[in-house]
Symmetry: D2
């Protein structure tokens, strides 16, 4: 058989290398998944393997020794494969790889304009990532605010302008136990100015950074998504890139937001695919004595399986297409050249994709769980973990109740609330 409908396959060479590297690690990751889940233990071994094998350097610039992967589509294809083996590893990988990809784009722009010398820290981090020595965690969420547009974590400039002093609290900081660097959203507070949204690169070993190992969740229990406290962390000014005032609907933030989507939902889709494969592969074995038939022979079970595949394929097609649209857009436009109207359309498309795909992934696992019969309800059955893991995706921002009015506003030709 040579046909796999709706397969997520890389379209670039760099993507193929990343994909092959990810696939090669699936076997051990799958074997470790149950234990990490049961103990709520961070998948440190998997991260070590990803670093050692070069997979975690995939999105670092080729010029700095990285894999040079630029396609979000291909990033998604590889993360999907990781998700089939271990959801926690997939989501953590997505965080690191997406963050790296964004920094690589910044680096490329600086290179192109001859300003790269002014960003030695970027060179250092990206080289480290390429060599498997650095791992980046994304620290956005905060309690009590939509921190992707309105962080409460403050960055105060020092009097000499050489540093910022950063304080605040981050939650759901996936991958933080292994991170050497945090890419954190903050608000730059300057007297007499509106507070500005910014990303700050913070080394985890710096004074004042406290990783709190308290992750104990319904699912994704191996993802290390604990809290981080930042208490007066002194960060060089070059590590902080202030943008527009907080809670502004603004082009470059939208542009960067597009990166976030594909890897995340690909992780969820991978989980859904794993659930699907479990139930499809075992239908012939689920025989019942009362009528002597296996589930594979029952028309109603066949139809239920058809429903499941139909939805999963729709979600895969939408994920792939959405990523290709973003790849095309990134090829044609920079943050500067992109027009806001276009960015809104594309942001609406990626947000709508997240809503559809995350719901479908949840639903597919739910249907698969139901099709397993009572055995799937046991803790030791792998689908019980998938059922809990997949629920993480809809909680990642933007959530559906934020995304849907955004999408509708764009459809109505109105400026949406940023999210």
């Amino acid at each position: 058989m040579s046909i796999e409908p709706f397969a997520l396959r890389p379209r670039t060479e760099a993507g193929q290398r990343f994909f092959d590297g990810a696939v090669a690690l699936k076997e051990p990751f799958a074997q470790r998944a149950a234990e990490a889940d049961r103990e709520g233990r961070f998948v440190a071994d998997n991260v070590a393997d990803l670093c050692a094998s070069g997979v975690f350097g995939a999105t670092a610039p080729a010029a700095l020794g990285g894999g040079g992967l630029e396609s979000f589509h291909d990033l998604g294809a590889g993360i999907f494969e990781l998700g089939r083996a271990c959801g926690s590893t997939a989501i953590a990988s997505y965080m690191h790889l997406s963050a790296t990809l964004l920094l690589s784009r910044v680096w490329a722009a600086l290179e192109a304009s001859g300003r790269a010398d002014g960003a030695p820290h970027l060179r250092e981090i990206l080289t480290g990532v390429a060599e498997g020595r650095e791992v980046i965690a994304v620290a956005v969420s905060e309690p009590g605010t939509l921190a992707s547009v309105y962080p409460l974590t403050e960055a105060l400039p020092t009097a000499d302008g050489q540093h910022y002093v950063i304080s605040g609290q981050k939650i759901f900081a996936t991958m933080s136990p292994a991170a050497s660097v945090l890419n954190a959203t903050v608000r730059v507070v300057r007297e007499g100015e509106p507070d500005r949204f910014a990303f700050a690169l913070i080394r985890t070993q710096w004074e004042g950074v406290e990783l709190i190992d308290d992750w104990d969740a319904l699912g994704m229990r191996g993802s290390g998504s604990g809290q981080i406290r930042l208490r007066g962390v002194r960060v060089p000014a070059a590590h902080v890139a202030p943008g527009a005032p907080v809670r502004t609907l603004e082009g470059s933030a939208l542009y960067n937001s597009l990166v976030a989507n594909t890897g995340l939902i690909a992780a969820g889709l991978g989980i859904a695919q794993a659930a699907r494969d479990l139930v499809a592969g075992s239908a012939s074995d689920r025989k019942k004595a009362h009528d002597g038939r296996s589930d594979a022979e029952r028309p109603t079970v066949q139809a239920a399986m058809g429903e499941l595949d139909s939805r999963l394929w729709a979600a895969k097609a939408m994920t792939a297409r959405s990523a290709i649209d973003v790849d095309d857009f990134y090829t044609r436009f920079s943050p500067r050249s992109a027009e806001l109207e276009d960015l809104l359309q594309l942001a609406a498309a990626t947000r709508a994709t997240k809503v559809f795909v995350e719901r479908t992934a949840v639903e597919v696992v739910d249907r698969a769980l139901q099709l397993t019969g009572g055995g799937g309800f046991m803790s030791k059955h792998p689908i019980a973990r998938l059922y809990r893991d997949v629920r993480a995706i809809p909680f990642m921002i933007p959530q559906a109740h934020q995304s849907l009015p955004f999408v509708g506003s764009v459809a109505f030709g109105r400026r949406p609330e940023p999210c």
Copy 2:
């Protein structure tokens, strides 16, 4: 405020006593629920309280000191309340109380026909239940068969006809750690006859009964739903009531099957109600700094809450009505006087109700989980447990893929496959 729309409230005096007793125990049960879940430990303390308080005697005959509860509707109303506090306790209680109710009906029929003296074991068990000394577990499910119509567990008559020797394996035997008696489905095997379906009353302390304390599930982790091995258990003949040949669509089995539904789905509805109340009660507290509003003020969240309530109310109305229909039917007809056509209609109605209500309960908890925001994804948040617990209901037989063709067959005027 005196109005609670779609409330499940008892309609009989016996029901009100049971209901009040259940409500009085909710507080301690709710407090123990998290720990039982975390440790996967059977809710033995709750069962002890239910016995001591007389709640577990509710469905034993009044003449034997029991509560005399005969209404399935009212049984559901009380179990719903238990489900709001602890799903595991509710589902275990449903097993014991439903089984007792069925036995009480048998007892009443024997009394009415002057044959009660021939069933001293029934008097003993029901008196014990009334006095809180006996607990009944239902042991139906078996691996690899639909054991509600085609058990593989065999009961072989001894040569003198005084006993049966029973061997087989039961799974999902909820409440078994506390049970003094098992009500188990078996097949009576006699040479030269078709195998017959039967219920057997088996004391758990009898030789050959092995309770295997291996319950480790996705949810309902406190329900003690482990395995039971029966190895040559010698059971007095009076304890076994052979019926029609296995896998027959037959009146008295259908008649008895009606009892099973209400308590089970009421447990699921109670879980859903608990999730609903959690999210409704906390919406005003979930404030976000980015726009200064609480969830309670957001029209889209209000609408989502409206969707949730709309569905939950539909499920409560259907549960109540279905139970009232069954109560009415039981008042008018005995297993003997009921016609098969009517039984099929009513069985279709209860099976359709189970399908609708269990799905709705799952969906309500799912929606509530989504509305809690990220906090609900943490293990310590009570909704994380509800999310896992509620999934148990659809796994209880008959499952939707068995029930729906049954319902449709009846609609088409055809004899359905028994389930």
Copy 3:
């Protein structure tokens, strides 16, 4: 067979009489339905039959010769039966009967307080209804506003205070071709006061009332739901009952709003039941040569039928229960004695019921249409009409997008926007 699960059956004697009268007319109504639909012609013959048979007097006071029906539940049961025969007739009947019921309650209150003499027009109208000489249409909807809380139609008091002069435009005035009286929402405009919401009783033969026979709709084509223009209609002051300022959340308006629900959704449910019965009754006839089986024998079709029945039954249970809750409430409380908190709970329940039931009715017809195979797509097949008719219900106010935030607000303990 004596069992019909989830049947809608009257609970009062007056209800039984009304029900029997409605059932007796179903046969001719069903026969006329196709033609009325094809020609978009008002079901005048049916209305004449309803008047002549006394069915249209059902909700007029017994003391004035009417049927004395007070139960919304029983009103719904009869309208459900009409809906099974002809959706247009059912919805038109609901308008007349509900309006009459409300006026009868007003009349009863006046009687009880000895003030009935001051309302000879009420006596006249209700007597006329009882005798089958008067028909009431409800005229609420207007273009460009939510006219159930904020009508734009103005009622200006004359200088002597003896009359109001009413001008405005009404749409979707179901039943208007046969109406002798309109019960119309208006705003009473007095200088120096806030505009007040009011119901006005307007005789259709009065000068300035223009019925525009322009009804040409997707469905309910026999319901005569055309436009009405009111141009300076002079109405005696006693015919207008000013209430609270427009767009106020207010007790007596909520109290009266409860009446509106049951009959409306019962009409929709009747349509759904008709579609269900069509497809269930013909499954054995839909045989296919390619496998020699009828639809009734196919497990997947049986399961689809089971899904349909499951939903329809849920909707019927919710409709009945909601109506019983309202009946109970009306028995216990008057508009004056009812507390706002209770009214909000009950209004939330009826609005949630409308949302659930109307969606389910649409979905049931949709599923039935699909199950009919290609034949159902032909204009001459009765289900094609049902598919169009049933869509009218969700358009009737309050619509889901208004109701759901209302329900959610109440759940959150907040005052909702009136709707």
Copy 4:
């Protein structure tokens, strides 16, 4: 604005020409749609325009003067555009263009193997199509059988083997009023052999072909999908291509079945897009006086619009991807070289796509209808037609209840029932 997310755009030059031609005709087609619908009149003018403009020659071989379009994806893109203007025209066009495309593939194979001289009728028909003189209708459906695998229409060979005599009845023969040629499924009946499935090319002016102009349907009222009676029609043997025995799961039939999907669902998607555009474009105009806001400003309406777009985009992505997968497969494999396992996978994918897309199209129009408010319920509102038209798609074979067990069987590694 240059970005249109999830747009269906041609990928080949021939596709672009076809697409541009279709787009150029949208305006007049849209204008004629309402009248054709109201009168149930075949869209003869549109077909004339499509012939005259060369659009109907798109899939004829370039070597014979046709457009040379080979991509199903691009075929879908153009039909989608037609569907936005007039569903009836789109679905009729799909029939003609798909049939032509299949014949062109046969012709190309004959050419390649030097056997084209033996098929002068094919050259004649395809040249006629290229020149806009011939129109092909597909005549598959029959009453009482799944005629795509088990036609009852019989083709009996004459004694001399030079002709077949064909008799039977076809229904839903879309486009037949304008057709010069029918591509009909028949069973070839030879004594001593199993009946064989075949396609027969039948000229509509031949004796014994009777087109019955009785099309009067819920929707697609301009599509001319009436009945055809075939009474002893004498057809040259070369016009009939016997394949495998009827009701066989067989490679070349599966191979050819892949063609059928994209154009059909693209027509449905075009209808859905039209409904979506109507409601999105008018949201700002739907203002309500009671709160002074337009629908475009309401968060709940925005969210509902977001839901709609999310689903529509998923369906467009799945349609495009599925077509691309088929295009790729057709490039790599011929009916002969394709393996059955691969064909089954691809057939499962296209069937699952049809199920998902047709449901989504129906749902999107339904949601759009609801969002239009009461105005959409009027016959004159264009969405009322879309609501009826879109329902045609799920009735086209294979229907969901046939497709879903097919898809599930393939997932389980089993041979499905052919459909």
